[in-house]
Symmetry: C2
Subunit: 385 residues, 2 copies
Amino acid sequence: MFDFNFANPTQILFGKKKIAEIKDRIPVDSRVLITYGGGSVKKNGTLDEVLAALSGHTVFEFSGIEPNPSFETLMKAVDVVHTNSIDFLLAVGGGSVIDGTKFIAAAAVFEGDPWDILVKHGAGIKKALPFGSVLTLPATGSEMNSGGVVTRKSLQAKLAFMSPLVFPLFSVLDPEKTYTLPAKQISNGVVDAFVHVVEQYLTYPVNGKVQDRFAEGLLLTLIEEGPKALENPKDYEVRSNLMWVATLALNGLIGAGVPHDWATHMIGHEITAVHGLDHAQTLAVVLPNLLFVCQENKKDKLLQYAERVWGITEGDSEQRITEAIEKTRDFFELMQVKTRLSDYGLGKDSIPKLVEQLQAHGMKALGERQDITLEVSREILERSL
Amino acid sequence: MFDFNFANPTQILFGKKKIAEIKDRIPVDSRVLITYGGGSVKKNGTLDEVLAALSGHTVFEFSGIEPNPSFETLMKAVDVVHTNSIDFLLAVGGGSVIDGTKFIAAAAVFEGDPWDILVKHGAGIKKALPFGSVLTLPATGSEMNSGGVVTRKSLQAKLAFMSPLVFPLFSVLDPEKTYTLPAKQISNGVVDAFVHVVEQYLTYPVNGKVQDRFAEGLLLTLIEEGPKALENPKDYEVRSNLMWVATLALNGLIGAGVPHDWATHMIGHEITAVHGLDHAQTLAVVLPNLLFVCQENKKDKLLQYAERVWGITEGDSEQRITEAIEKTRDFFELMQVKTRLSDYGLGKDSIPKLVEQLQAHGMKALGERQDITLEVSREILERSL
């Protein structure tokens, strides 16, 4: 096992009616900016529930944070923070809203050009406004971690940042708040959480036995519960398990002390930035092909994955690995997320631009061994057609 | 899944040479009291390493915190805190030292009689001194939780307390620091961690799928690594896994949103208080018999445990449960912890006093359904002879 430092201070408030507890978590004299997305939280009543809980607080609203939140939009929110002397943020939504709110929290008190927060991947953050979240979409894990991803539309750049100063103080996880989600968002969320686990698990073995067992537990739960969530959108138990799995998939725990890959995310980010595919769609396209191309490097863990997650024990190593990768792809398809670039209307001619973007963003040595060169990324993309 | 609140802010510093990092975690103008036990940390060099890391700090020492730390000893440490205007505590040792230090942290600034901290199980704690720990013995999980157990020798009372104010700020987990532990302490630690997991897992099903998978992952790792730790005391990988498992066994995560039992601990505490058995010895004695006596209540989870942890799939329910309980007992014996009261020289005549003690401490309705009455506890103890 590698040496590691791990801490995660976010207070999780999990269950029905937990939104009511936020009034005790936000100082009553705060000037609160509630941030949200396209308005679904307004339609489905979640925003009203939040406003009712904060009836004694001074509250402002900022809406319009888009999926793959943009630097341009978020800087408008920073203006709202300054204009209204906001001192507490409350994100109500999914990972995009929470990621965006982390950026607002840091950018509002940043000395210098906030773009540097992204260019330096968060290293320059010295302080941030306090904030909490009310999660409505289990997927990204942003509700219990210290990272975010922001897109600068004008540059077609999608950049990640991290800082221990942008952990949410608290996050409300009420599974009932996911009942009204469109099926597509549940599908995407399950795939996103699945790939988060895989990026921290399917690397090379370092004898992190607990991390492996926990990762496998999360994957098994996603495989069991994901399809049920599409069949029965109001099954509280299913939604509960999905919500908690997605949070634990990327809260730092399973990744502590083990190697990480993240190449699927980095390649996927470019596809989103250039062609606008959903984040999870890009992951479903890239992952199976990345596992295939990198199978020699990942051999030991792929065999463990085949056996412990998919119960594959027959055949030689190559057969078991191939079957595990196929089962992974089948699971994404079962979750109604297509796994080929061609499913999204993209052909071979899209690949040079994607590789060029990877190069422009310094992504020349990806993966747990930094040996996914631009050529290997090209090979992965070509297999993804 | 039950509703739950979960947070755990403790910073874990895991790996070789991590003691050096504590200098950055303790304000340099602090007056630090280092607390430890019988002196093994002095002999094996750990204390010197801690002192070297704190060479710029003002440091005092308090030694002599015993296994099952006593109220009487800890109140002497509180005097040392007051006399020397101590404002930061650093526990160097195992669970007893850390539990004791939590009590010192709360008692030193407690308004009223510190005995009330234990009588009210921590509810009265309004503040506590900040403290960290350097763990030398993987077992109790105290290094990453907010609870402790203290014994008042004069009353033969062993009482637990909890408060979010007594989470360690940081804990150093350096597996090399466990190399010099006597085999008995490794044995006890593995059994202790195993039973911590079981107390949060073998109850009744609430569809907490992740909690179950995580609990099973911890148990499987203990079963794999425990015996190796006895065979090869300097195997870094084995010690790493044991150390991280023991911490995760009782840091609140696997117990969030699921029922808890803890009857084995409560009955075991009385055996320690009256007869001085090691904590883990009492657990190894009580658990198999509690599982046997309560098997109807725990049937579904016992069958799951039999299959997922021990790979038992043959036979009818009763046979599978019996086999799983026997395998549990065999594992404790393999870990060189005896599982019968008679192994410790205790006979049937010891039982009335133990039941009386349970009654005196209000333990009349134990277990996840509060249906382990004094009579059921008596039955468990009689089966433990």
